[in-house]
Amino acid sequence: MSIRVQTEDFDVGAEINRLRQQRLDIGAVAAFVGQVRDLNQGDAVAGMTLEHYPGMTEKSLESIVQQARARWDIMDALVIHRIGHLKPLDQIVLVAVAGAHRGEAFHACEFIMDYLKTPFWKKEQTPHGERWVDARSSDDDARARWHEA
């Protein structure tokens, strides 16, 4: 399990290769890459600054990955989250999960992504100036579905 919070960009190919080559019984890697869009809530976004709570960020990411590992039979997981100033098309986040089969890897990857939103805050630069982005209720909906069944 590897958790990294960093300002630097990351190389998805190199990260996935490192993850998948650790064990001979890994049969599947599911990965998600999030990147900055140039539009949010109707406004052009020139860039954004991502602030976090050092210490708590790593602690909560580790807890999310532990929950995924307890729930699905996966072999390893990697989370890289960037902070600081980012512009459209910049990569923000990588979640990659290795397992024996695709089902567990897909589910665990999506679960980790749904719970990942702690504790980061986004500030966008738009033509109307800078603004803090409010929390979205759709994120709560995404998390709630994992409590069903």
Binding site: Y53, G55, M56, S60, P119, K123
Partner: protein, 83 residues
């Protein structure tokens, strides 16, 4: 002493990244918020009722009933929006 931390929009509104305080015995997150609100002005605005703030004690999200002890790290921040 307890270490207080403020983040994101709250940090900018208060003009402070944090501070140190001597906690009273039996202090809870809720009581601490009331204490901060009593400073008036922007503090009353941010910590008075109505604003949705989250609290973490020792880097774990904490309900307002959580007790705060000497040496704790207490953080206040808006709901998170990362990812």
């Amino acid at each position: 002493m307890i270490r207080l931390l403020y983040f994101a929009r709250l940090r900018e509104a208060l003009g402070s990244v944090g501070e140190e305080l001597a906690p009273q015995a039996g202090l809870t997150v809720e009581a601490l918020m009331q204490q901060l609100a009593q400073r008036g002005g922007v503090w009353a605005e941010e910590f008075g009722s109505g604003k949705s703030l989250r609290a973490a004690v020792n880097q774990t999200l904490a309900p307002v009933t959580t007790e705060i002890h000497d040496g704790d790290e207490v953080a206040f921040f808006p709901p998170v929006t990362g990812g």
